[in-house]
Amino acid sequence: MFGAEFPSPVLLASGTCGYGQEYADLIPLDEIGGLVTKAVSLEPRPGNPPHRVAETPGGMINAIGLENPGLRGFIAEKLPWLREHLRRAQVFVNVVGHSAEDFAAVVRGLDGEDGFLGYEINVSCPNVKGGTMFGTDERALADLVTRLRGCTERPLVIKLTPNVPDVGDFARICEEAGADGLSAINTFPGMVVDIGRREPLIGNRSGGVSGPAILPMGVYATWRARQTCGLPIMGIGGIRNAEDALQYILAGACLVQVGTASFVDPGAAVDVHEGISKFLAANGVARLEDLVGALRSRPGTGPAIPAG
């Protein structure tokens, strides 16, 4: 996958594992599949005012505001640790920008460095030029991916936002523009109101909703992406255990990422891997790949109608 060996199909999701270091004491990092760093932008970002996180029904909301040390800070302060400490776990750098130039500058600035495998491009970010997010604007997304493809030969994974009428359309665009893989999905926009204070609870007013609450949406997005394109997919959203991960895998993901669940149990990613291995053994499945996208259709299934 992505020209590399993954010690496990389970990675830690961007924004929920920092740059790896803090987890190294808690879990055997080299036994999980790897990690995706917190977003790296060209310049340092201070992030949003508090509160930045809160629990929601079956999930959580966050509005960190992409706080990060910027490209140079990442290279100086974070990358050396990753380079030195991870032997087997694979690292993707999550990249963010407000313009295609920003994204390209980060990728070019990193491409000569060691210590990571590829990029996960976070397109759930407002495009200062277009006014919309890259991830919700077909043209902007195609241009961005084409441009980044020209900047690197490393694995280029685009992280889809679910915030579109059909994720399948955007998956296809990424493939056509030269991406190597997809991550599905990022968070859903949400808001929590503090009814006592009559204020948004979150400093940024709105934030992104993650956790088990979005599990069926993530599985659906993975399935749609798999239907419209042939790229390898990392399944993300609400994964707590092997059963959740296997839903993504059957729907079409070849790797999965665990995010919010690590806050509840830092060992979640390790346990998910263990559970998958047990499931394979118990069901006589030789290789995980045999399950990827192996969803059968139900007898008598008609065309898919989303609701009602």
Binding site: Y23, K38, R45, G47, R52, E77
Partner: protein, 270 residues
């Protein structure tokens, strides 16, 4: 410096994640429980002012609960970790219902402890802000030292059973209640002695911390406070728990705090 990261944690014990059984739980005041968990690793390493993230884990997929931060309130000789838990919202209400023998997931010890380094100490506690000072007073008592402990609550019903405090800490706090129904009437800050030069430690609601910061500034006193902010991870990775630092940058309460020297914070923004 945008990225203090975990270098600030150098020298502290590495946090561990442990599933621990609840050894005892006791209603010690209105909506307030004293819980002791069987968690030798954290008990052995924790320092006063540090906290744990306490949750139920992922074992029961129907019960979703992000862990909540709680000050270590005491550590026992048998590896007990004591927590003073006040039911506030949904999460604390759920945790308050844990029964003896059930297990919870503890992550800790976390955060920067109080730095008292042999100084004379005055602890000012509002509500369950008492917890870290029980721990501190117990440690000091064990070392043959005494701290001053000033403890305020709204009313008598909220006051943590003084007999248990005495047993745990060998100290007898000076009690204030807002309505005078127990101890002296008034805010806990009424107990502050302008003449003292002791190191001030504060823990409790933000208005109390603000009042302490003003007092410390006015009287040139050293002050350390433990601040509260919503936390995602507790270990410095999610950047969820920021408060405004004196230099204008966001500082992470979970790893650069939760205890801060008052001068490190921007009191206009807290």
């Amino acid at each position: 410096m945008l990225s203090a990261g975990s270098d600030v944690a150098v020298g502290r014990a590495t946090p561990v994640s442990r599933r621990a059984a609840l050894l005892s739980t006791r209603l010690v005041a209105r909506d307030t429980w004293w819980q002791e968990f069987d968690c030798p690793d954290i008990a052995a390493a924790a320092l006063p002012g540090q906290f744990v993230m306490l949750g139920v884990g992922l074992d029961e997929p129907g019960a979703w609960l992000l862990p909540r931060p709680f000050s270590v309130g005491w550590t026992g000789p048998g590896g007990e970790v004591g927590i003073l838990l006040r039911a506030y919202g949904q999460g604390t209400r759920a945790l308050a219902r844990l029964e003896v023998g059930q297990t919870a997931l503890l992550l800790g010890p976390l955060g920067r402890p109080f730095d008292t380094a042999g100084a004379d100490v005055e602890c000012v506690a509002g509500g369950v802000g008492l917890a870290p000072f029980i721990f501190l007073a117990a440690r000091e008592a064990a070392a043959g030292r005494r701290v001053r402990l000033i403890y305020g609550e709204r009313d008598a019903g909220a006051v943590f059973d003084p007999a248990l405090i005495a047993r745990l800490t060998d100290h007898d706090p000076e009690l204030f209640t807002e309505d005078g129904s127990a101890g002296r009437k008034g805010l806990v800050t009424a107990g502050l002695d302008p003449a003292s030069r002791a190191l001030l430690l504060g823990c409790g609601p933000t208005p109390l911390l603000r009042a302490l910061a003003a007092f410390a500034r006015e009287h040139g006193r050293r002050l350390q406070v433990s601040v509260e902010e919503h936390m995602g991870c507790g270990i410095g990775t999610c950047q969820g728990c920021v408060v405004r630092g004196a230099d204008g940058r966001w500082v992470k309460a979970c790893i650069e705090g939760s205890v801060f020297p008052a001068e490190e914070l921007d009191w206009g923004a807290i």
